[in-house]
């Protein structure tokens, strides 16, 4: 069951639709954020980078690459992506960018030249980041040494090479809104850490199924990524404490350890979280109203 059709369809739609095509190609715009009065903090930003998992995708640690200087290959069925160099290098990184351009990239998937980023860069989740977290992230990104050199170009097959089609995808699936202030911390963390990227199933068109958040998802190979709702985890014998402990140790309650993509999530992210944040996420997954649509800011 392949669901690659959407992007081809989106490209065709955008090309065929004339005036409407311009609207589609343009993609949605996030509500303006006024970041001018905020001051970024490097250490807090480094911590936000851990919450959001920025570093593994933008650092080729397996090849000994410098931090944020460009990631190793990210293989998908559309082809291979490479997280670009986002060190403050003037020409090869983001050294010449403004804070506003950085915010548009991270929360809207929009490049300084107005083109769209591929959703392999999980901006559909980062759109929930708070203003302060974005400003802190920017301070952290700017604090690393500038490194010369670019990651290899993505290696994609047509029609995925056509970025204009992404505007249509974004119209369908990107809901660029910061998290409502009344979200519990755990819910905010679940979004920023994009747990749903792997654990939420898709609709036929390839968007995340908002009614079945964290309900588990099939892998193309016929396996399953497990459900992580409180109900499912409870049935599998997990407690809130088990979940929180597994996020720092990688050890599941039965003495087995995480493998696959989940090993990376712990290794590159959750093992660095504060105990308070791990607990908050675990409590939210167990007790939050997970069935509710993503845009509704319920407090649980």
């Amino acid at each position: 069951m392949r669901r690659t059709g959407w992007i081809a369809a989106a490209v065709a739609l955008a090309i065929a639709a004339g005036g409407a095509g311009t609207w589609l190609i343009g993609g949605p715009t996030a509500p303006p954020r006024d970041l001018t009065d905020l001051t970024g903090d490097v250490n807090r930003g480094a911590y936000v980078a851990r919450l959001a998992g920025c570093i593994p995708c933008h650092t080729d640690s397996e090849a000994g690459g410098a931090v944020l200087a460009g990631g190793g290959p990210l293989k998908t069925e559309f082809g291979i992506f490479y997280g670009p160099n986002i060190t403050p290098h003037e020409t090869d990184g983001v050294g010449a960018w403004t804070l506003e351009q950085f915010a548009a990239a991270v929360t809207e998937g929009r490049a300084p030249d107005g083109s769209h980023y591929y959703p392999s860069f999980p901006y559909a989740f980062y759109t929930r980041l708070s203003d302060q977290d974005i400003v802190d992230l920017w301070a952290a990104v700017r604090s690393v040494p500038a490194v010369e050199g670019r990651a290899p170009p993505h290696d994609l097959a047509f029609p995925y090479t056509v970025r204009a089609g992404l505007g249509a995808w974004k119209r369908l699936y990107l809901d660029p809104e910061p998290a409502p202030a009344d979200w519990p911390r755990g819910r905010y963390l679940a979004e920023v850490a994009h747990c749903g990227a792997c654990h939420t199933p898709r609709t036929a068109l390839g968007g995340r199924d908002a009614d079945r958040r964290f309900a588990g998802a099939p892998t193309p190979g016929g396996g399953t990524i497990p459900a992580i709702t409180g109900a499912a985890l409870t049935e599998a014998g997990w407690t809130v404490e088990d979940l929180a402990y597994s996020l720092v140790s990688g050890v599941k309650p039965d003495g087995d350890v995480y493998g696959g993509a989940m090993a990376r999530v712990v290794q590159g992210g959750t093992q660095f979280w504060s105990a308070t944040d791990r607990d908050a996420l675990a409590v939210y997954l167990f007790e939050g109203a997970l069935g509710a649509p993503i845009t509704e800011g319920e407090t649980q």
């Binding site: 931090v67 792997c198 892998t219 696959g260």
Partner: protein, 203 residues
């Protein structure tokens, strides 16, 4: 620099999808799905049993470190020694070339990257031995930085990305043996995960 360093990261699977793309991310080398332990025979059954014993010992250790069971240094040593004894050659000898009979979750990459697989099995044994020696050390936090990054900023990145994960670069057995058992255990568990990430199917 060997080949596996450029191996595309399975970690990335799903992230494209996650960002809302398509569910059908390419699962290079994945497949099969959940397979029950039942029905295994021969060497596949033997190694599954070995891993189950490692898992049981790991659970006993984790329970003591988490405080769901009282901490007992004697028991800690015994469990760590059991894991040590199941590592190295005791483990790798149960993975003869191409032994993938159903319902094995092992991946064929084991035999194309045999040296690295062996290295991880050895590392697990060394780290478990070090944990046994750390059993009487004062207890301490599991995490290095404990949440916030303690002023080191994003640059502690190199360490955080886990040299230990690749079976190089982590602390030596001597260093581990001097740590609180909590911290030593974390390094051991990372080695389990590193091997599973590369050489065992996702369930």
């Amino acid at each position: 620099m060997t080949d596996h360093h450029r191996r595309p990261r399975l970690a990335a699977l799903g992230l494209w999808a996650g960002a809302g793309g398509a569910a059908a991310v390419l699962a290079a080398g994945l497949g099969g799905g959940a397979v029950a332990h039942v029905g295994a025979t021969g060497v596949v059954k033997e190694r599954m049993d070995l891993m189950m014993e490692i898992g049981d010992a790991t659970k006993a250790i984790a329970d003591m470190l988490r405080g769901t069971q009282p901490y007992d240094a004697e028991r800690m040593r015994a469990m760590a020694r059991r894991i040590e004894g199941h590592g190295g050659e005791a483990m790798t000898s149960l993975f003869p070339d191409g032994s993938l009979d159903h319902p094995s979750e092992a991946l064929p990459a084991i035999w194309t990257e045999w040296e690295r697989f062996e290295r991880l099995a050895d590392l697990m044994a060394d780290q478990a031995g070090a944990l046994a020696r750390a059993a009487d050390n004062p207890r301490g936090p599991m995490q290095r930085g404990g949440g916030m990054m303690g002023g080191s900023g994003i640059m502690s990145g190199s360490g955080m990305m886990g040299g230990g994960m690749m079976g190089g670069g982590g602390p030596s057995a001597e260093d581990l043996a001097a740590m609180p058992p909590d911290a030593a255990f974390r390094h051991l568990a990372q080695t389990c995960s590193a091997c599973h990430e590369a050489y065992r199917e996702e369930q």
